[in-house]
């Protein structure tokens, strides 16, 4: 997947900057499952996630001129837009802190049943990774990435000292990366 992306990425960017709708259509087919997965994890609601994804792709279309290749890959840029848009929606819907926890507690396996039929997605890979991560490791990553929780919020939710949040996060991600190598 990586090699294919690096090969086509500059063409993609050029096509998008030229407002080529065919390239945009290709971009949607290629990336919408990953971005929809993020929106769905953040919002935990298919209708809200669909609205969010539509907004995200419109933002990508309108703002492609602001994307700076020297600052990071196109996928990273799109992920950031998706995460920020979804978390803004989450906040504007005035989800409370306990709602965030509830969501995380419930939905870790919720969407593994209808995973995308997509060449880049390895169902077994995800299952293997999730199985080997402890529940706390999964929750700390998901609270930060998908719910946009701050260190203070995570410290309160997981009832761990504020000073150890970063260390726990580091350990969780190191474990995640080790597991990814085994997949």
């Amino acid at each position: 997947m990586e090699s294919a992306f690096t090969y086509t990425e500059s063409e993609l960017i050029q096509g998008l900057k030229a407002k080529d709708q065919k390239v945009f259509s290709y971009l949607y087919d290629r990336y919408s499952p990953a971005l929809y997965g993020v929106a769905l994890k953040v919002l935990n609601d298919e209708s809200n996630a669909s609205d969010c994804l539509q907004e995200v792709f419109m933002k990508i279309w309108r703002n492609i001129d602001r994307y700076d290749e020297s600052k990071g890959r196109l996928f990273t840029w799109m992920l950031n837009i998706t995460r920020n848009t979804a978390i803004d929606t989450l906040r504007s819907k005035a989800h409370k802190m306990d709602q965030k926890i509830q969501d995380i507690g419930d939905d870790v396996h919720l969407y593994t049943g209808n995973l995308a039929v997509h060449p880049s997605v390895d169902h077994l890979g995800l299952s293997k990774v999730l199985e080997k991560l402890t529940k706390e490791q999964r929750i700390i990553i998901d609270l930060a990435y998908y719910k946009g929780c701050t260190q203070e919020e995570i410290s309160r939710v997981l009832e761990i000292p504020l000073g150890t949040v970063k260390t726990r996060m580091r350990n969780a991600i190191i474990q995640l990366r080790n597991l990814l190598k085994l997949v």
Partner: protein
């Protein structure tokens, strides 16, 4: 900090997971610019995180792509017609949007400070004003009471001066009236002007009568009592009170009578008497 200590600090993982605060993000960005190892480690960690995210891909509803392109077409048509309004700008990092320009924030802060200052000043002035008002009223009251006291003293002084004139008159005759057997401590004095025939009485010591009674002065002329009028006693009474005039008298006496006086003296209530 060295490159290895940046790598082991947890900053990279915090950044990649979206946990890092804005100051932590700035710190790591500086470190990545300084150390290629840190930048490489970040890239590697970022890609692994993205792999984890990609694992959680879900195919969106099939109708969504159609909806998206309908919106895109509408917007592009509007853009071509010049009627398109740019709705948003994307925040690249999860920094909260600044909703108010900093200039307006400063102006608002300054306005609030001014308001607080003004309220404090007003309160202070109002308190001072109240204090001064109270002091002014107290002084005005004490001033008017001093003025009325002054009037009292002036009147008393004038009376005293008049009394002095009466006594100083060379033709004035003094008749002391000591107490009778019944009231031995009583004492009063009659001043009788031999020229003008005016009569004044001065109370030296007479008990204060009840409110329905008054003292009455009598002159004894040819062995018979003649009414000279009633007079007041007590602190409010003039020291010397003018009575009726009489041409001749052998004796003066004071009896206690009903208020307003009697035509004949009540002899057993005679307090003082004095011969000429």
């Amino acid at each position: 900090m060295s490159a290895t200590s940046y790598i082991s600090s947890g900053l990279i993982e915090a950044y990649v997971s979206g946990l890092a605060s804005s100051s932590e993000r700035e710190e790591l960005e500086l470190a990545m610019a300084q150390y290629p190892e840190v930048a490489a480690e970040y890239q590697s960690c970022q890609q692994d995180m993205e792999q984890y995210i990609i694992y959680q891909s879900v195919t969106p509803p099939a109708t969504l792509k159609e909806r998206l392109f309908t919106q895109l077409d509408t917007e592009e048509t509007a853009r071509a017609n010049g009627t398109y309004v740019d709705e948003d700008a994307i925040p690249e990092t999860p920094v909260r949007k600044v909703l108010v320009s900093s200039a307006w924030r400063w102006i608002a802060a300054a306005a609030i400070l001014l308001l607080i200052g003004s309220v404090l000043l007003n309160y202070n002035q109002y308190t001072k004003y109240n204090g001064l008002q109270q002091r002014f009223e107290a002084m005005a009251a004490s001033n008017s009471s001093i003025a009325s006291e002054t009037n009292v003293y002036r009147t008393k002084l004038e009376q005293a001066e008049q009394n002095l004139h009466i006594v100083q008159d060379p033709s004035m005759k003094t008749v002391k009236m000591p107490g009778t057997k019944t009231f031995p401590t009583a004492l009063a004095t009659v001043y009788w002007n031999q020229t003008s025939k005016e009569v004044f009485v001065m109370v030296n010591n007479l008990p204060q009568p009840t409110s329905d009674k008054q003292y009455q002065l009598w002159a004894i002329v040819n062995g018979k009592p003649v009414d000279m009028g009633v007079f007041e006693t007590g602190t409010d009474a003039n020291l010397m009170q003018k009575m009726k005039s009489v041409d001749n008298a052998e004796m003066f006496a004071v009896t206690l009578e009903k208020k307003g006086g009697s035509p004949e003296p009540t002899l057993d209530q005679m307090y003082v008497a004095g011969k000429i």
